[in-house]
Symmetry: C2
Subunit: 383 residues, 2 copies
């Protein structure tokens, strides 16, 4: 059987789930630039510029700031594979799905994850961090800055960084959902290593995972007692391929076109300016929140200041049928929102306003469509 | 400093190195289709069709036939991470760069690589395989079907498969460069697991690694004594995401647009027909060989029947300056060819005719450009 081309099979859906987000025309144009060699001088220049722009978005001077050649989870695995050695103990804040995944990663690489359990929808308190650090004798603390499963934004990042460093441990952060949508100050907050994804607020298709590690973290990688239990993610080799101006040593064939797209996504964000981008997310988040609350939705995260601007995790109004309504949004309105995870499955939605999806007119259209499925019967169900 | 968009920085280069190869307009168009959700029904259909087409190209019925979300090396790592357990012994044919990398991978995952050393440019003989198998007590044998560093094509695949199975071991193959350019008969040859890349004869940008594992191999994965030392590449989880028709379980966010591109690349190959594609590679390879030999190039691989049709690894004519000429091809002719690796660095070129780059008119243009740099002085060097 012959299949039709993608263009004849895929309809245009507005992306307001937990990612991917809408991709702009200019990023799609960059993505489809003619492929060139991964060692071509033109491509090496694009790599250099991509690193330089990633540093601006991460708000860091870290030399080791690169996109890993895989989706967001590959950035998580890169950090764990390189930074966790057999026998290492790492504190993990578990207040959603992704803390659990980090703990799984740590144990696969021979480390021990020591949980700091926090109710889903809440964030970790400084006292809890202090207590956990004093008890454990750990090499690091991992937390998720913006929990995509609950919509919670972790406050006190700088203070947590200080506490972690007082105990001579590494501060490791998942900034997958926050990067490019709200402040992520890697250097100022004392984050030693962080990873992100391209398909959230950077509004680039999924496929790359930007990471950043400071010298302290890279020192731990370079002084490992055992080789990294991964060739693909071994940063001691990858750093010689992503080596600005220096003698590059081939590692693997970079995903050339995806890096073109990331280059353009970063360029657009910096052209608009980080502050303007964050303000836009805040402004549209407020409008969406007002609209959702008017329709009877309530937020999983109780504290308003701890709600993510780019991802609204909300319980549906009393009596609303989650799965059915979400399917209708997709089929009747060409609109994607995300379902709840874990205990929130079947009860909550995750509504994204990420990057290019975060525009005033899109908020209006989104609210209009949600209202329409809430207040009407399914198409074709009439008499 | 603001950077210019990719389109203003990257010139069009014809790709005749060891990959990436030229990407057709229709694959670039599919690549830049509007991104949709990784769980959208339209995307799930594209995933199913991609698996089905990959099976045709691998010539297999293996259910577990999927693209891994990373570049070619990630497919190698997936196979090793899943199939090699601590203490396993695996025979590795080393007749080029990539056999060495496989051995490195095996030792990182706690296995022991037992080398079968073969001179670079040659392939392994059946007697060597027989002898190695009888001595070692190994769980598997790994070889590279088409060695990109030397241009050698491994013959006797079916016979090797039989020998390996007589010793109750797994037959594992790197088909990165061969897939889609010459016969790769996974089922008929008894290959238990294989991996490839998109940027060679499939003529899709780098970023995905198609793999296939039969039930015997998946049985070994499922009955591991220890968890896979990788979350990102854990096939026991990934198989539930790439689960045709069944209940899919989210693992990681698939690289949506890259899979669109792979879908189109496979569609084009199957539309032309595998036999026609292989015949085209053979025909153009003969023309290129005649032209290169006329210009004084000689092949690294002595036996003509063991030369890759899609990658010509050749010593330069006496006195020709490798690096200088290759740079001139790039700067004066917008043409990329690859340099030699290992002992062949500075002495050899690797000239690719892969997938969409393998066209009669491109062979003519390629030979014309090579002749022009061989027979003329560099531009701007005149009086």
């Amino acid at each position: 059987m012959e299949h039709k081309p993608v263009r004849d099979q895929v309809r245009h859906v507005r992306l307001h789930g937990p990612g991917p987000s809408d991709v702009s025309d200019s990023v799609l144009e960059a993505l489809s630039s003619r492929t060139i060699g991964h060692l071509d001088p033109d491509f090496l220049r694009i790599m250099d510029q991509t690193q330089e722009m990633l540093r601006q978005v991460f708000q860091t001077k870290n030399r080791m700031t690169i996109p890993i050649s895989g989706t967001g989870s590959s950035g998580m695995e890169s950090l764990v594979a390189n930074l966790v050695e057999p026998g290492d103990r790492v504190l993990v804040v578990r207040n959603g799905v992704f803390g659990g995944r980090i703990a799984d990663e740590i144990s696969r690489f021979g480390g021990e994850a020591v949980d700091i359990n926090v109710e889903w929808g809440k964030t970790v308190e400084l006292d809890q961090v202090k207590q956990a650090l004093s008890g454990a004798g750990c090499q690091g603390l991992f937390l998720v800055h913006a929990e995509t499963s609950t919509g919670a934004l972790q406050p006190h990042m700088k203070e947590i960084g200080q506490l972690v460093h007082e105990h001579d441990a590494l501060f490791l952060a998942d900034v997958v959902t926050s990067l490019g949508g709200t402040e992520v100050k890697v250097d100022e907050w004392g984050i030693d290593a962080a990873y992100s994804g391209t398909q959230k607020c950077l509004s680039v298709p999924p496929g790359l995972s930007p990471i950043t590690l400071n010298d302290r973290a890279m020192e731990k990688v370079r002084s490992r007692r055992t080789p990294v239990e991964s060739w693909y993610f071994d940063l001691t080799m990858i750093e010689h391929y992503w080596s600005e101006g220096g003698a590059r040593k081939y590692h693997h064939t970079a995903p050339v076109n995806m890096i073109f797209a990331l280059h353009e996504g970063l360029r657009l964000i910096l052209e608009e300016g980080l502050d303007a981008v964050f303000a836009r997310h805040k402004r549209n988040a407020a409008a969406l929140q007002a609209g959702l609350e008017e329709l009877g939705f309530t937020y999983i995260v109780g504290k308003p200041e701890q709600r993510l601007p780019m991802l609204h995790a909300v319980f549906l109004p009393e009596g609303a049928e989650e799965g059915k309504l979400r399917k209708r949004l997709r089929s009747e309105c060409n609109l994607e929102v995300g379902g709840g995870l874990g205990d929130f499955a079947g009860k909550a939605w995750r509504v994204g306003l990420m990057g290019h999806s975060c525009r005033e007119e899109k908020v209006h259209a989104l609210l209009r469509d949600i209202r329409s499925v809430l207040e009407s019967e399914p198409e074709g169900s009439g008499p």
